[in-house]
Symmetry: C2
Subunit: 421 residues, 2 copies
């Protein structure tokens, strides 16, 4: 019997050698494989749902319910969405081979900067079985081989989905090892994957803060992270308060459980007396729990507003809870964001061009918004076609990551005998 370490290493080696071929596979072949994967998933609906039922039973037996159970659950619609996702990715333009830049040197050398795949990408994720198909599709389209490592709670679903993907890929003559899964639930598997320097080029963790911290802690290979999104909206003095109300309501309430939802509302003291009571009424109607600083609670006297504690400013609620603070100035708002923000998405609602520019320039987040909801930080909403995540890192990729962010580049230099003097 080979050890887990040997197995993962062998998988990584196979993935690496597949990636060398995949890098040169033309778009139509990749697209055909993506569509074949979608077909195969559809055909295998009963089998996938049966396996998913096993995961659900096991989860229920362990007392898991609510949101977590819902994330785990598949049904015909969700499966159809996975297939549709793969077909959408097939329709996107192939990023590989794109000429990023070309120039000529005085000595006649022609330099071309060309987009190429990264190589082998590891995806470490939790709960949602759809990640299996989504990430495999995106990595494949960008010419990378992928090593999937899902959570043990979805192991039966993931294995069956993976089997469909792999079968379709092989039938379309993609190299063996293009799509891989570590199907052992042993946690050491992740650690071993994270230490395959030279074989695994990048790992993207997808899941809660705990998972991401673990991955970063253990990783010897490069990681692109999506830490928490503590997103802020600042309502400036003189802002169009109707617009502010619409934006702030959307940013908090439309889908509170995601990283681009607002967690903290900052209001200029001159806007607070008129804006806060209007806004509070709407929030409370929608079931939002409010936690305010001293001044917020004074303005909202009579409303049920809890006292915000220091910890609140640094918390990603992912829920119908909002911390609210009244600030004296634009500068104070920016300083608050610098101190507590997570570099994800922040918005200002203002009528002043100068103050907007100051905010947009000085807030160092992946996405900064003027008069729009932070909820737009998303590959689809940005028009990237699909997204593999939202990076809160600053290197390589920042903000929504689409196909392009799953590639790197190389320089191709053509000469006619030039040597260096």
């Amino acid at each position: 019997m080979t050890s887990l370490s040997d197995q993962v290493r062998q998988l990584a080696r196979r993935a690496k050698s597949a990636s060398e071929i995949l890098a040169g596979v033309p778009a139509p072949v990749k697209n055909r494989a993506l569509r074949a994967m979608a077909d195969e998933l559809e055909k295998s609906e009963p089998a996938v749902l049966r396996e998913n039922e096993k995961d659900l039973r096991a989860a229920r037996a362990r007392g898991i319910g609510g949101a977590l159970l819902d994330r785990l659950a598949l049904n015909p619609q969700r499966l159809a969405e996975m297939s549709r996702g793969l077909r959408e990715v097939a329709k996107l333009p192939d990023p590989v081979g794109e000429l990023i830049k070309a120039w000529r040197r005085p000595n006649g050398l022609e330099i071309r900067k060309v987009r190429v795949p990264i190589g082998v990408i590891g995806i470490v994720y939790e709960a949602r079985p759809n990640v299996t198909a989504d990430c495999a599709g995106l990595c494949l389209k960008a010419g990378n081989s992928v090593i999937l490592r899902g959570g043990s709670e979805a192991i039966h679903s993931n294995r069956m989905i993976f089997r469909c993907l792999e079968r379709a890929a092989l039938r379309q003559n993609l190299p063996r090892g293009s799509v891989n899964m570590i199907s052992q639930t042993d946690r050491r598997g992740v650690e071993i994957l994270l230490s395959q320097v030279g074989l695994v080029d990048l790992v993207i963790p997808r899941g809660g803060e705990g998972l991401i911290r673990q991955v970063v802690e253990k990783a010897k290979v490069p990681v692109i992270k999506q830490y928490k999104g503590i997103c802020h909206t600042f309502v400036d003095e003189g802002a169009d308060l109707k617009m502010a109300e619409r934006i702030c309501f959307n940013a908090k309430v439309q889908r509170p459980g995601v990283c681009n939802a607002m967690e903290t509302l900052l209001v200029h003291r001159k806007a607070a007396p008129e804006f806060l009571p209007r806004m509070a009424r709407r929030y409370l109607e929608a079931g939002v729990e409010l936690r305010g600083d001293r001044r917020t609670r004074r303005v909202l006297k009579g409303f049920p507003v809890k006292a915000a504690r220091e910890l609140d400013w640094a918390t990603e609620y992912l829920d119908l809870i909002l911390s609210v603070r009244v600030v004296d100035s634009l500068k104070e708002a920016i300083d608050h964001i610098r101190r507590y923000g997570s570099g994800h998405s922040e918005a200002i609602v203002t009528r002043s061009k100068t103050r907007a520019d100051q905010f947009l320039k000085n807030v160092d987040s992946a996405c900064v918004y003027l008069n729009a909801s932070t909820r737009f930080t998303d590959g689809g909403q940005f028009g990237l076609g699909a997204e593999i995540g939202v990076s809160t890192d600053k290197l390589h990729a920042r903000g929504p990551m689409g196909l392009q962010e799953l590639t790197t580049y190389k320089y191709i230099v053509t000469g006619h005998g030039q040597v260096r003097k």
Copy 2:
């Protein structure tokens, strides 16, 4: 007395807060500061040389000589080069604020992808004191604050150069903390710097393989590496042998001690009988030691060619030594490079367009060359104006790194009240 850990942390905090201001400093101010730094270095020539003499004395006392001592030594010309370097950087276009891309979404949102500084960059380096000025200048121009940590062998020179740079920066009203140096020689200083997650955004090690491995091993913050350059040149069948001779000679001999020099020559078996004896003669005249595989030695019977061992293919000699191998095919050449190459720079000399394309496509290195010397892998030669290093990583930056690679981007999204549906 505060601990080293507190000191470094405080330095990093100061650098972070300076970086927030630096990000918005207009180009003319940065350029003026760069020129002031150059002036200050020139004015301080006697002081810098005096401090450098201390380092040289200490090195000699420790029995250091030859190349290492030469790297450490400053003289009026080298100091003038440092100043010229800073003035050149001042002339380069400012990468900050560059509009990378802009588009409009169907809902009217305007999305702009804009180049911004990374923040705080740490540079860990050895021996050459000129790195102090070169790196500080490049980081500053790209709007980043920098934390320099040079080797103990150059500590006196580095401290004095740093003092000049800092004095000039402050006199030009750059924020305090724009240019920083860890001037303690305690090795733990590097480790502490490498663990400043949230304060230090990137560390670039510059030095030998040992230093780079240490940095990668200890780093909790992102690192861009420049590992060894085991560069290959493949002379194809039917190649223009005069051209091949010129390129291969240049790639090995012109400056053997640098990362883009060739370490292994691969020759197609059909080209070997004519090419190898000609080439060997030139190499031997230039004092190059040859280490060949069995077939090379057979073709070069009568020439002094040592037997290449397995280890030779994986060695970066950085010296007048060359490993030589005869291969049966283009594929064998590519496979050899895949196995032993370091992803830096490889060249093919050929007359065949098809075979050139195959090589350029299938060799996964930062820079691939057709009919030119690998010695061109260099920021200056590429026309980037200046370089902070050559990345052998695939993420964020690959190949020669100029000002652009010292930046990241953010998305600025402008709306008029849009909310997500």
